[in-house]
Symmetry: D2
Subunit: 362 residues, 4 copies
């Protein structure tokens, strides 16, 4: 119902694909945290199309912070990030206004907004709108790291190839910085190569492909989240499903619980050198909605980019007649790679929100 | 961070397993809707343990509405439902205070609340707390039905058995009332029998088992939900993941998107007798966060009930020594069946909230 | 738009004058605070009609806490207070349904709720609904006192009599406990006697009278509140104007600023033994929306109770003809005295909410 | 606790006095309303210093809308307004960092933000931040007018001069457009001249002066607002007290209720040609928190601008020694005139929010 997310910490997201700027206001961040524009640029560069088989839209991802930061630190006032839109080719989309693109928001939006929404480039529904979210990630992720909390992801499944899943690994001992820095993160390099090849083939045929991204948050203290409505899972899922193209989410063993028994899947307790821990982590670090001190991890299902150049069936909504549609714009054959910094930004945001909820703001 | 859910319509949930009452306040429902206590009783009865292989705790599920209803109709004031707790056996749980039960909230809650939370019967974390949510469902579901919106579910997967999935079926033509009225809803009866047998075997061995529930909402008008933060998926997932034991959620084809191509998975448009529709429904009725007029459906992964009588490893948190734990209380070998009215209640709540958001309150 | 107030800390208020219970859910209070039922009873007794010239409705103000408190401490779960309604005489009000009482909510509510609201005893609009708020005050006020924060009030103006105003007094050195414990608090006893006499005269004539209450909060640390939207004044006024009968609110010098100059009204700074302070406190302890460490104080204007037995002009809404109305029920000639614990409860609630906002919850 | 205001409709306010832009995001406005930039410019021009005895800071109040408007209409997406800051003279303020200005937020903010807030030009606390609010008014006021709802104000009291109060006037028959279009609105022209002269005298002496503004909203349908927490008064007061310099607010007869009787102050009902109305309007159009169809009106107390050039006492916070402070910047001797469009913008915002609450968004 709104373009504002969060409780203590909020993001207000605004802009359309072909407007002058898109952007976000991050409100509620305590004063005194270092804000490094390099870190924001780094996150935005992870989201940038690499060119190879990805959209040819040149996204420079210049940005400016116009409020809330003074002498390199958060001031406690809302932080506003503006990202200019450039290289916008409205003509590519003009003809689509009456012909909704399959699996896009065109048709649903038309009915919702009675034809008043800005259709250029997907308008408010464009994937462009994830850029300000990634910029917010560039603010929050370094703050979390300064508290010992780290996020990383890998492409778990794509085109029939399966990377080593996080479940079963000791995530705190994993070389996660190589995942963080990889342009196409997989644990198993060979699997990564096969996936990339699959994407190139799909691109060549004018088609697109989906995949699964797995993300971990390590170092989260026990005690964040609440029973029921504001469970860590509820808040994370709210944020993750707000990313276009996400159609599934599972925590820990997730959908793998369906065939298992309590006696084998319950995470049993043990005492280690420094702390109580669980010998397995099927619950993905969350019990009863509250972090238990173990690594949190979850998988997100990403659908194939709906925009493809292959012909598809649609409908001319004026004439009410069937039409064939081939979308000529610049498209990604797979956004699985580019969606990773978006997922991490949203996960970082939720973690920070819960952190402030527990520990206060001043 | 809170025990209040929703935007226009809110539920405030309260109570503990062994207090005098548990209950909920439903606020924001427009005045003038018929409220039928029989419908609430019917929903509560769906959640009741059947006895056969399920918890022996006798839950009469008496309830009373103490505000917001006058002469059989909603008044526009908050509706408060109280459900008395009876047959509470605190002694069963007393010994657990220092020995956290695996995969329960005990350990995380202890750290969060510094030992001040009410541990009796699981306290605020008890599955009992889903009863008020089901009662709320008993208020909202008939209202939605009066608007032509229907919810139904089936047990999709359990113990290696797979029921016919919703994807591919014409849900509007399905005999869904038989699913609504079945104590153990499956589309394929034989699969249902096998699942029941599997549960009985697990119960006999003092163990528990998980499963997957699939839920549909038909008749939802196009245009509910928003891009990004308050997408229909975000709001539904927030509510569904607030149900204890849910660890995964997928919309439409969900995790099945990972190996598919845009050209085969995009839902293409066609014109039928009365309206524009999509020939497939891989997106589960939602595009760009907004309902598109097709049936909405989603699957929820339910983990095995953590409480089992089989011995498990835990830790004595005072002595910091390992202990073996066998939980003697009354437990469900599978809550998959009993969780269905909870899932439907939450889905109905979110749909109603979006309905009021679109169409107003007065 | 809702019956939920607050941000980090929330009150959900429910019930009607003639239902089984009225009550409130207080959510978001951190675990581990002592909750003393005696303190709640004490606050409720301050709100009770004294009989002398006040409503004859016997309000025993029994209450029970049914959740969120365990072994005398907050558990971190929502605290639910139920107050039973007794001695409800519905007949007194039945005839009013079609004849709206002047200055009551009857007419506005009829239009808002299309005739579905519960009219018995004023329903959701009854002054009874302030009792759960006062009970919440009984929980929060002792917690604030344990942090060195104290609230107190006096009747500043009534019937042409003026008590010594707070502005100009050293509130931290005032004998405020005598105000807290007085059934009819004024600084000047003689003024208090005159006011009481005025009320008795008004009561004898079947009429009612208004007044002004002034309230102070001392010991509030500097730094609570925010610029603009969540200024301390904004949050306090939101809560105070939610009390029926309040029609005006001013902070510090308030409406007295209209004729003054910056040079005489600006609160200038000085250094005392232990801290920076201001030599005057025209701003009532708040600058730019943020507490500045000086006492916070404000005045609330209370209108005369609308229910009087003197004949008044109304309208028969069915026949659309003028009628004369004399309200026979049990009424207060002045709620100025009884509204004090309500004002203090709301002020304590807002202060606690801001406290948790600044210092966290866990 | 946040820079986001509203429930269905929200404003996110951002920016600092000396940043590149200040601005606001208006979210939740339904699609399809005409947005006229001229109307926004007109509102901003009402807030502009007139030069004569007012601040010499040249505020061009250029603005741009960068999202949410397409082809002259609201799209349903968030509307973002950017207002560039120009003519910012940081040096004027630099020396104040350690010397808090009396009655400004400097001292409170320093403690709240631990010295990290942006102090240039008052930073986030600058009166500049009211410009985006006025721009929001320029969007909403014409929409309300298209629904038959009109807002207007006059300067009720200043420097000992009193304009004709709204109470007692037939506001629907008043020539309110002349108030709307006057640069210094009073009902009595002579009073207006005297007030202006008083301001000029105060300006000449390097001082400042307060005043009272009275505002009316006519044409509001009965039924907006709720009992208790979201009463029309609560929501309006929350918004009005978020405007810097407002220290008092009263509805209808407001603080005048203190000496009156129910029998004379209750608003009695009568039947007119077209509708039920009240013969007096002491309640200012609101009963039980809900609009009753009569004109809504309220008075706001505005304190003297704290920034004056006359010497004042302050404290050097580093040396902890007293200092004398004369503020050399560009200041208004009275913001009473310039605050009117801010008050009207906030009142329009709240009314629109309640309107959407009642009648929906789609």
């Amino acid at each position: 119902m709104s373009n504002v997310l969060g409780k203590r910490l909020t993001i207000t997201l605004f802009g359309e694909s072909h407007g002058e700027y898109i952007g976000a206001v991050l409100d509620g961040l305590p004063a005194g945290f270092a804000i490094d524009e390099q870190e924001i640029a780094k996150q935005l560069s992870r989201r940038r199309p690499s060119g190879k088989g990805e959209t040819k839209r040149v996204e420079k991802d210049e940005f400016k912070i116009i409020s809330g930061v003074y002498q390199g630190h958060s001031t406690g006032a809302p932080i506003t990030i503006l990202i200019p839109n450039s290289d916008t080719k409205s003509k590519d989309y003009e003809k689509l206004a009456n012909t909704p693109r399959p699996s896009h928001a065109d048709y649903a939006a038309l009915l919702k907004y009675n034809g008043f929404n800005d259709p250029r480039g997907g308008g408010r529904f464009s994937g462009r709108l994830t850029a300000p979210l990634v910029a917010v990630g560039g603010i929050i992720i370094p703050i979390l790291e300064s508290q010992g909390i780290y996020l990383f992801s890998h492409i778990k499944e794509l085109g029939g190839y399966h990377d080593t899943p996080f479940l079963g690994l000791d995530l705190e001992k994993l070389d996660y910085s190589s995942l963080q820095n990889s342009p196409f993160p997989t644990i198993d390099e060979e699997v990564g190569s096969s996936m990339k090849k699959a994407i190139e083939e799909v691109a060549a045929s004018g088609d697109s492909i989906g995949g699964t991204v797995e993300t971990a948050i390590i170092g989260v203290p026990a005690g964040l989240g609440d029973p029921n409505f504001d469970s860590f899972e509820s808040l994370l899922s709210h944020a993750i499903f707000s990313i276009p193209a996400i159609k599934g989410l599972e925590f820990g063993k997730g959908f793998g619980f369906k065939d298992g028994l309590g006696s084998t899947l319950n995470d049993q307790f043990a005492i280690g050198e420094r702390r109580v821990y669980t010998t397995t982590n099927n619950n993905g670090g969350i019990n009863g909605g509250i972090s238990n001190g173990m690594p949190i991890f979850f998988s997100s299902s990403v659908k194939p980019t709906p925009s493809i150049s292959k012909p598809q069936k649609s409908v001319d909504l004026e004439k009410l007649s069937p039409v064939e549609l081939s979308i000529p714009g610049r498209h990604d054959p797979a956004i699985v790679r580019r969606i990773i910094p978006v997922i991490e930004a949203m996960a970082a945001f939720v973690t920070m929100d819960l952190f402030i909820d527990s520990f206060g703001r001043d």
